[in-house]
């Protein structure tokens, strides 16, 4: 049978698909390290306390939010403060469907409807902006204003008139009682809570990461990067820049929506505080700190910053924000490309020095190696 050869072919094509100049991590060493980390994550519940595992599922859910911004901003050049809006809209939508339609069917429907509504919202907003000639920093501010409008509106939806079926939007206090995501018809055969939610989030991240690598190294991904680098040039090569931006923005909305659904199933609750100015800036911070032109950077930075925040709140108390801010400042000043590209440059610099026998002290760190 030819299955062997075929699967090797499929695998080969897959390996080809996820490599290319638009993403970091080509070498055998990289994939070895990747494997080690993946293994550490898969076995995470074995050597960690339960609270660490459940908290980690929250961070993993948030990495998808960070990736949604990395795709939109880091790879297509559209800085959006609105990812939290799609995140929250999906969270609320999932809540409304999940509370109203009982059983696992309701939650599965909720997942799809929520991601769909988030994508639709992004598409409408994106159409309004991109086809209306709004660009650059104005997109950024406009998305921020949209978030603020949504928050001001949701804060006051406490009364009974803001009840959709069984689900009360709940105003500032938020919407409690959102069910866990479950698979099955009638009786659930798999409910995503605690450990299962952790694995679901981990799987979602892994699939998203590899999928995005494939996307970014595809023809379409090359066009995205081309738009980031030079919008006019790309238009003049015959690409419909508005449509590509709209498509990517919509996709980013859907990914942020998926993140939102995972996040609310962790909390079983959502409130407008996800739309505060602080919350809206967090994805930007994660992506900027990690390295916006990478996929690994935002993932690492999201987990690290969130975990560090918890660590500081437990151990440092009222100086936590100061330390957080200082770290941010130092990274932005010293590593403007982000933590992960900075580390990579450092590693290759050390590698170069070692190759040269370590005697040559004049070697400059070569920031412009490759991207």
């Amino acid at each position: 049978m030819a299955t062997d050869a075929d699967s090797a072919g499929v695998l080969g094509r897959f390996v080809d698909a996820i490599h290319g100049p638009n993403t970091m991590g080509e070498s055998r060493r990289f994939w070895a390290a990747f494997g080690v980390v993946a293994l550490l994550m898969v076995t995470f519940p074995l050597y960690m306390l339960e609270s660490a595992v459940t908290n980690m599922s929250q961070y993993l859910a948030l990495t998808l939010l960070a990736l949604s911004l990395a795709v939109v901003w880091g790879f297509t050049g559209v800085l959006s403060f609105g990812q939290v809006a799609f995140f929250a809209v999906a969270g609320y939508t999932y809540g409304i469907v999940g509370i109203n339609v009982a059983g696992p069917l309701g939650t599965m429907a909720g997942l799809f409807v929520a991601v769909g509504v988030a994508a639709l919202f992004a598409a409408v907003l994106g159409y309004f902006m991109f086809y209306g000639g709004v660009s650059d920093v104005y997109v950024t501010i406009m998305t921020l204003v949209v978030v603020l409008v949504l928050k001001t509106f949701l804060d006051q939806t406490a009364g009974d008139k803001w009840t959709i079926g069984e689900a009360a939007l709940g105003g500032f206090n938020g919407m409690p009682g959102i069910p866990d995501l479950a698979l099955g018809i009638g009786e659930p055969f798999l409910v995503f809570d605690d450990f299962t939610l952790f694995y679901a989030a981990l799987l979602a991240l892994l699939v998203t990461y590899l999928g995005l690598r494939a996307l970014l190294n595809s023809d379409y991904g090359r066009v995205m990067v081309a738009i980031r680098e030079d919008e006019d040039r790309t238009e003049m090569l015959g690409y419909d820049v508005k449509r590509v931006k709209l498509t990517v923005f919509t996709f980013g909305g859907a990914l942020a929506g998926l993140s939102g659904v995972l996040y609310v199933t962790y909390f079983n609750y959502i409130s407008p505080s996800e739309l505060s100015l602080t919350a809206a800036s967090l994805p930007v911070i994660w992506v900027a700190v990690g390295g916006r032109k990478t996929l690994l950077g935002p993932i690492v930075a999201t987990v690290a910053i969130e975990r560090l925040g918890l660590f500081l709140s437990v151990n440092v108390g009222d100086w936590a924000f100061v330390i957080n801010g200082l770290l941010l400042l130092v990274i932005v000043l010293l590593l403007p490309e982000g933590l992960v590209p900075g580390l990579r440059d450092l590693v290759s610099w050390i590698g170069d020095r070692r190759d040269e026998g370590g005697t040559d002290d004049t070697t400059e760190p070569s920031g412009e190696v490759i991207e």
């Binding site: 390290a33 990747f34 080690v36 980390v37 550490l40 994550m41 995470f44 050597y47 960690m48 306390l49 339960e50 609270s51 660490a52 459940t54 908290n55 980690m56 929250q58 961070y59 001001t152 804060d155 006051q156 406490a158 009364g159 009974d160 709940g170 105003g171 500032f172 206090n173 938020g174 409690p176 009682g177 909390f267 079983n268 609750y269 409130s271 505080s273 690994l296 993932i299 690492v300 987990v303 690290a304 969130e306 975990r307 560090l308 925040g309 918890l310 660590f311 709140s313 437990v314 151990n315 108390g317 009222d318 936590a320 924000f321 992960v340 580390l343 590693v347």
Partner: protein
């Protein structure tokens, strides 16, 4: 040495910087088992620090007093008090950590209702004994939650009848545009009905708003006998300064100002002149337990000489920790279900808010407290005096919707809508 190498590997791998941090924490572990472990999650930084920090301080005062006095049943109290930074996400993370990692025997957590609602699903999942101490809109009927602060109905029920009596029946309501404000405004209507008064105008103010000229204008236009103000947060505090400077001198009743954020001390007089707060406690409450030498106020400032104020919720944290002590002593164990049962046996405590000889009572059926309520008035110079006081029972849950946690376990929050439905 091996450990360092491992860490470097983690760093190279990226995502596990966090892993290394977690491992470090996990090693620290919980305390020894012959202590009683309490979790105190109160905001020491962020937006709610102003009101959260006194709660934190008063909790520590109660714990220190109890420990110095020999502990509970001979066991010392060990407490964990990380800072949730006024963030609901952080509250949930820390609550999980308190429950799973620290295995706390009881938890005090949160200022806002949003925080309570964030962690309540998890509290109920774990059947964790939880004290919520903020004055709030009321209606939580939950077998694991002891909401020991006064409810809007209790607070408004003390001040509104007094103002109707003093000034007349025409009320103008201004309230923060969110759950607490909207529900409180509903309670104002209910109480107005009960006291033959009427609400002639109502405005809800977004939490982010700090400009009040048009609001002041609308109040002047309506010309009510008095205003009921349920404004919340620092942005809204500006209202009092702005209305004074605009010359709006209509009396104002409130359930939110002064007792929590001590506006009468922070704002320049006469911003708070002629404001009447319906509260179960504030630093100026004239009870012997509170103000005598060595009383509650003295002990608080002995321990925290730099503290700016001793607020309403601080006292709620304080007396509820003592109520917990009594319940554990009665149960003879820290087993949470047995302590809950003990708390449901009609525990009382001589709280600082109550005059000598009186104890406030935790109602078994509703997990709420029949508070001794005060009407406190600030004058031109921001001196605060008590003009009225009486015990007000929590009646909404108990009588109107019939919440009885001693016979039926519930985990929900009722609203004034339920009041209307029950009332017919």
């Amino acid at each position: 040495m091996t450990k360092r190498v491992d860490r470097r590997k983690f760093l190279a791998g990226g995502a596990s910087i966090a892993t290394a941090g977690l491992a470090g924490c996990a090693l620290m572990g919980g305390g020894s088992s012959d202590t009683i472990k309490l979790g105190i999650l109160e905001d020491q930084s962020g937006n709610f620090a102003l009101v959260g920090s006194p709660k934190h301080k008063a909790s520590l005062l109660a714990i220190e007093e109890i420990n110095n006095d020999g502990g509970i049943n001979g066991q010392q109290i060990e407490y964990y008090d990380p800072d949730p930074q006024s963030s609901n996400d952080r509250y949930l993370e820390l609550t999980r950590r308190m429950v799973q990692q620290r295995d706390v025997d009881a938890l005090w957590a949160g200022y806002s209702s949003a925080t309570r609602e964030t962690i309540r699903p998890y509290i109920d999942q774990q059947d964790q004994l939880y004290f919520y101490t903020t004055q709030y809109e009321g209606g939580v009927c939950d077998k694991n939650v002891f909401a020991v602060g006064p409810t809007a109905r209790q607070q408004l029920g003390s001040v509104l009848p007094y103002l109707v009596e003093e000034y007349g029946p025409r009320i103008y309501t201004i309230a923060a545009d969110y759950n607490f404000g909207q529900l409180s405004a509903d309670w104002v209507k209910v109480l107005a009905d009960e006291n033959d008064a009427e609400v002639i105008g109502e405005e809800f103010i977004p939490l982010s708003n700090s400009q009040f000229s048009s609001t002041i204008n609308r109040i002047q236009d309506a010309d009510p006998d008095f205003v009921m103000s349920m404004l919340v947060g620092q942005n809204h505090t500006s209202f009092y300064e702005q209305k004074a400077s605009a010359g709006l001198d209509i009396p104002i009743g409130t359930s939110t100002a002064m007792a929590q954020g001590y506006e009468h001390l922070r704002l320049d007089p006469p911003a708070m002149a002629n404001i009447y707060a319906g509260v179960n406690y504030m630093q100026e409450i004239p009870t012997n337990r509170n103000t005598r030498d060595g009383g509650f106020v003295d002990r608080y400032y002995d321990m925290w000489p730099d503290a700016p104020y001793l607020n309403e919720e601080a006292e709620n944290n304080y007396f509820s920790i003592y109520m917990y002590k009594r319940a554990v002593e009665q149960a003879g164990t820290t087993d949470q279900e047995e302590v809950k049962a003990a708390l449901e046996s009609g525990i009382t405590y001589p709280a600082p808010e109550a005059p000598d000889g009186e104890e406030i009572k935790l109602v078994p059926e509703t997990h709420h407290v029949n508070h001794h309520m005060w009407v406190m008035r600030a004058d031109e110079n921001h001196n605060v005096e008590a003009v009225d006081d009486r015990v007000i029972d929590e009646t909404f849950l108990k009588d109107t919707v019939g919440c009885d946690l001693t016979s039926k376990d519930e985990e929900k929050q009722y609203t004034p809508q339920d009041y209307y439905e029950e009332a017919g």
